[in-house]
Amino acid sequence: MIKKTFSVPDMHCSNCSMKLESIEDDLPGVKGINASYHKQQMVVEFDEKQVSDEQIIAAAKKKGYQAVLA
């Protein structure tokens, strides 16, 4: 398991963090997500054997956000 921080500059409200955190339910291999609207970022704890950075970025894009590895 590793932890990586992704910058999400287009979060516009606290609800965005809730939406981004729901990725942990959609992507197998993601253990937990801590998203913060205040910091405009999300910290993702995941198993890199099961899921890649690109997949996480793609999942965020599906939710309507542009995530970039910080």
């Binding site: 409200c13 606290s14 609800n15 809730m18 955190e21 339910d25 801590n34 609207y37 309507g64």
Partner: protein, 408 residues
Amino acid sequence: MSKKQKSTIDPVVIIMFGVVFLAISFALLLFQSQENNGITIASSSGAWGQIVVAFVTGITTGGLSCLAVQGGLLASSLAHQIEQDYLVNMPQTHKRKRGEAGRQVAAPRTSSALPIFLFLAAKLVTYTLLGALLGWLGSYLSLSPTTRAMLMIAIGIFMVGNALRMFNVHPIFRYFSIEPPKFITRYIRKTAKGTDTATPLLLGALTVFIPCGVTQAMMATALGTGNAAQGAALMFAFILGTSPVFFIVAYLATELGARLEKFFMRFVAVVVLVLGFVTLNGGLNVLGSPFSFNNLTSGLLPSSSSLSSSDASSVQAAAPDGQLILRVQSSGYFPRTLKAPANKFLILNLITNQTYSCARDFVIPALNYYQLLAATGTAQVTIPPQAAGTKLFFTCSMGMYTGQIIFE
């Protein structure tokens, strides 16, 4: 995103639009009666007037403010969730789950209207209970004008900060958005995954943890009633008023997508900014600050600010015996500017005649004087000697109606 196939109009939508229409008609009728007959809405009692004001506040500003200041936009979240569920459940677009898709054909989701309706119903019940609790708590404590002023100023700053956050003025304003604790958001998220009727009901009830600025102001008013039944009725009327706007925006956000939501958010930001300044200004008035908009402009334009007075003279001087007369009407204080001799004890006569607005809650902040006047009658206030040049501001407890006594 894929286009949705609209089949028939959901009956819940028709009912909701009916409710919206009735609510708007009710509000318009009230405004008309105010214009024609003075404030007659509260002729039966002051409490009823307060409830009507709460409803009108809800229908005019509360719904938008709720959507904006809750930050999380729970209703919108629900709407998005419903949209996602809707799309996932559509067999035409997602054929992966063959068995399940077949089942969905038999019982497709018809619209997002029913969950939003349930969400709002739960919100209404929860806030009514909260109103009862606040009213009950209020019977044990009373808000002094200063406390109320500080509360209004804090709420005003909160609202202005939120509006600036929505305009994305500076990252610092993001901190005006309250992020609920993670365990609550996680719980809400897990709950939102359900598609049964209990989900929107529970989500609606959970909004009680993230009230908006106007709701918080209304909560403070409910606290001020000092009566459980009155507090409950006040919150019920307010949330009922907010529901149509809340419903329309949430429904449109679901049906028409995020682009429209962004447009609405801009509009909401403007409204919240204006409301924030109005609340802030009201707080400054109740505090007796010379820097409130009313007091600044009355200082600059003393005569024009009093032109609405029905008195022959807009500025009234004290009688030789030191008696001052102020007419307290539903539409404010007349005359707005009184002139009085300095260094002399004075008697201020407050005359009410079927006065039912908040003008009855008379406050002189500098003297720490607060009195709920009788709807009809005369109350006297003894004013201690004041130095020449002093301006003594008076206001209603909401900071809406103001005036001043100038000592010379």
